[in-house]
């Protein structure tokens, strides 16, 4: 699969702050890459550098094989971008926005089709200043797709969207992917990232600190699994003290809870102890680390 976006060694300083400190990654056609990281990690600066909104100090950005820094207009024709906050003129209507923005592209989607797809038909003739946050966000997404982009870049796309609008947004993103396009999205919504993204790049202090499919990142992380047990009868105090490799042990009557890095090893030690005390397990839950915990673990 060819790379629709290739970012290499991108650097940007704001005074003494290194906003981007050599970021490199690529997004292939038919792939969704999620950029995760805390506020100030460099996600938005990365997106803005790719889109030409911010001029990086050094590094390269290739969009569909086009050097975006040397030929920004050609690159922009291939990409669609929805910023976290989209500002338009107060009195512009969604239909006018889609028609006037679409007029800048040779290849474009119909305004009516986009209005219907993002459930904007009922407000198509209303002025922008009367739209709700969710409607504005949906319009921003529709505008990002107005040129049927090969590369779709979304900065916090689900912020302010209701569940129905989120589903539409996810469907639109998957549609781009199924048609061979590439999607780069920043998000703080780990559930969304885990559901949608084929790969995730975790950014901190302007660098990519981890990259890979969500499942791989969870497996690679050194975060722990939480194990909860409900026993048939109360456990004697100190009975589990000898078990190695566990932490955060809490015993309350018949409830036991602890965390372990290696679950198999912890359970292998636990079962003989329970047998010795004649205790039977009524319920056993093992909760693996969430993506959120994994991301936090890499920072």
């Amino acid at each position: 699969m060819s790379a629709k976006l290739n970012v290499h060694d991108l650097r940007k300083r704001y005074g003494t702050v290194r906003a981007l400190d050599g970021i490199s990654f690529c997004v292939n056609g038919g792939e969704i890459l999620g950029l995760l990281g805390p506020n100030g990690a460099g996600k938005t600066t990365t997106v803005e550098s790719i889109a030409g909104l911010t001029e990086p100090d050094s590094g390269s950005v290739e969009v569909c094989g086009i050097d975006a820094r040397r030929k920004p207009r050609e690159a922009k024709r291939r990409m669609g971008l929805a910023l976290a906050v989209t500002a338009l003129q107060d009195k512009i209507t969604p239909r006018e926005a889609l028609e006037s923005f679409g007029a800048f592209y040779r290849r474009r989607a119909g305004a009516e089709e986009l209005l219907a797809r993002f459930d904007l038909k009922p407000v198509a003739g209303r002025s922008f200043d009367t739209l709700s946050t969710g409607q504005r966000q949906r319009l921003a997404l529709a505008l990002a797709l107005v040129n049927q982009p090969e590369l779709l870049i979304l900065d916090e796309p689900s912020a302010g969207l209701d569940p129905e609008a989120r589903r539409n947004m996810r469907a639109a993103i998957l549609d781009v992917k199924e048609n061979g396009g590439a999607v780069l999205m920043t998000t703080h919504d780990m559930d969304e990232a885990q559901r949608l993204c084929d790969r995730i790049a975790i950014i901190n202090l302007g660098r990519v600190v981890a990259e890979g499919p969500p499942a791989d990142l969870i497996a690679r992380s050194r975060t722990t699994t939480t194990i909860s047990l409900r026993l048939q009868s109360p456990i004697p105090p100190g009975a589990l003290a000898a078990i190695q490799g566990i932490g955060g042990l809490e015993c309350t009557d018949a409830l036991v809870r602890f965390v372990a890095t290696n679950v198999n090893e912890a359970l292998a030690q636990l079962i003989p102890v329970l047998d010795r005390h004649g205790l039977d397990i009524a319920e056993l839950h093992a909760q693996r680390a969430t993506l959120e915990e994994v991301v936090a673990g890499f920072l």
Binding site: L53, R73, K76, L88, K91, I92, E96, S100, A103, F104
Partner: protein
Amino acid sequence: MQGVLQQILLHLRLNFRSRMAVLYQYLFPIIFLAAFRTVYRQERFPLAMHVGELLTITILGSAAFGLPSGIVSDRERGIWRRYKILPVSSFGILAGTLVTRYLLLLTAALLVLALAMATGMPMPAHPFAMWAAFTISAIAFMGVGLDLAMLATNVPAVQALGQCIFLPMLIVGGVAFPLSSLPAWAQHLSAFLPGRYSVQAIQACVTGTPAAAQFDVLALVAIGVTGAAAGLLAFRWDNRQRPSPWIALALLGWLIAGIAAESRGIVHVSAARQSAARGRESPPYSSAEGPYNAGTATPVSRR
């Protein structure tokens, strides 16, 4: 190109949806028209000798306040950033904005002329030449407005900077008061300001001969070209960008015009010379055949 044309149509529609913009665009020149009509009510052809001033004030108001306020307000709110994502140059976006502004200005000028003619002013002697002079003046002043927009960081700053251009141009720049009534130092100063050239170029086409305004037109072109170039080179898509030193280029046009006027010795204007330039004693209106023949002005006129 299609995108820029769409932008022009869109901006025109959006402008007419804003009551304040419409009010400012048309009410402001009408107030000046009424003021001039009152001051010069005893002239035989009311307002005819003041079309240059009236249209220049219309252009100046739009350039010093309307145009830069719109650009800066949109930039402050992040609208220009959204446009930057589009595959269009800053020139393309600005061209759309400036053409829209020019068309609005033209409608305001036509309204002023229509009202002036409705109250007794005869048809301008050279309407097409007047339109050309008006257009060149508009381009020169819109370049100034663009520079103000690139210099100002917020709308209150536009108002402050706009006043710095607007008031001196009105008072000592030969726009609201005749050059011949100004002291020598003010006449020298006015040679470095575009207002006087705009007034003279337009007025020559209304009551005189367009050929007499050759220097004024060249001065306006110099001011317009340098102003527009400075505005484009210093263009700021968002407020995170600082004002560029390229803005200083705009002053080059003003300097060129002023120095050229000084070196040609055409800065000092006497009442007789101003009258001649305006056409009262110039052919083809020196005889009874023209509407603006000599000796028609009353004592309250520009002395």
